[in-house]
């Protein structure tokens, strides 16, 4: 069973959107982290991670998302999530991620709330 994953990146004027597809485990998480780091180095400190095409996330993948939140905090940046399923949102709230990152239903709302 192959886990096919992908990340699409769209940079806008002041923020960048990273849209994941596939199982968010350590492999996709590390790739996402690398892409986020590169965007931060380019000056993008308002990031949106769109998880609409990611049906499953494991706790290792979430731990890497937390690392991205921490790196952004060190650059006075903000991370907003969108496209989460009800279970994903519940898990993120349980892990206190909702205190340090925004959770929004869709990309438009996530971008509008920086």
């Amino acid at each position: 069973m192959a886990n096919k994953f992908d990340i699409q990146i769209r940079a806008e004027k002041q923020c960048a959107i990273l849209e994941t597809a596939g199982y968010l485990n350590d492999a996709l998480g590390e790739r996402l982290s690398k892409e986020a780091q590169e965007l931060i180095e380019k000056g993008y400190t308002q990031l949106v991670i769109n998880l609409d095409k990611t049906a499953l996330i494991n706790s290792i993948g979430i731990s890497i998302l937390i690392e991205i939140i921490e790196v952004l905090e060190q650059h006075d940046g903000t991370l907003n999530f969108c496209g989460l399923s009800a279970t994903q949102e519940r898990t993120f709230r349980m892990m206190a991620i909702a205190k340090y990152a925004g959770i929004f239903p869709d990309e438009k709302t996530a971008i509008a709330n920086f």
């Binding site: 499953l56 494991n58 937390i66 921490e70 279970t87 898990t91 349980m94 892990m95 340090y100």
Partner: protein, 150 residues
């Protein structure tokens, strides 16, 4: 990989290899859907299965490097047992220490969430562990839609 169906029991043995937890999660999804669990419940069952398998992969040090997953289908509930033949652990002393970078916010720690997620998503969870292995038994009830306090 073996897949045996007998009465209301489905067995799947997975090797401790990258992404094999997805095989168990996919089977869990098929079984839960066949039992008419709703979409959210199916997702909760999948995630709990993934976390239980990963827990075994990461911590069991099982010499056979295998995890047995059992799906017991009952009228109103699905029981899933995840068993390894590793060194066991004490659920009460389950480490929340992180091997990754130090946490900036202790409440948003990076590791040690797996079993907490399992407890939050399933209706009943029992962990039996000794030096010969660990079994995590978790039950999802069809009418167990109330969210538990976290």
């Amino acid at each position: 990989m073996t897949n045996t169906i007998s009465n209301d029991l489905v067995l799947l043995t997975i090797p401790m290899r990258r992404d094999m937890e997805l095989a168990a999660a996919q089977l869990a999804s098929v079984i839960a859907e066949s039992m008419s669990f709703n979409e959210q419940q199916v997702e909760e069952i999948q995630l709990a299965t993934i976390e239980s398998c990963i827990n075994a992969f990461e911590h069991s040090k099982s010499p056979d490097q295998k995890v047995l997953t059992e799906f017991i289908m009952r009228t109103d509930e699905l029981e899933i047992k995840i068993t390894d033949q590793g060194i066991g652990f004490s659920p009460d002393n389950h480490s929340k220490k992180s091997n990754s970078k130090p946490d900036l916010h202790p409440e948003m720690r990076k590791r040690g969430w797996g079993l907490e997620i399992v407890h939050a998503l399933m209706d009943k969870v029992q962990i039996m562990s000794n030096k010969n292995g660990t079994t995590i038994s978790m039950v999802k009830c069809k009418d167990g839609t109330e969210e538990k306090d976290e």
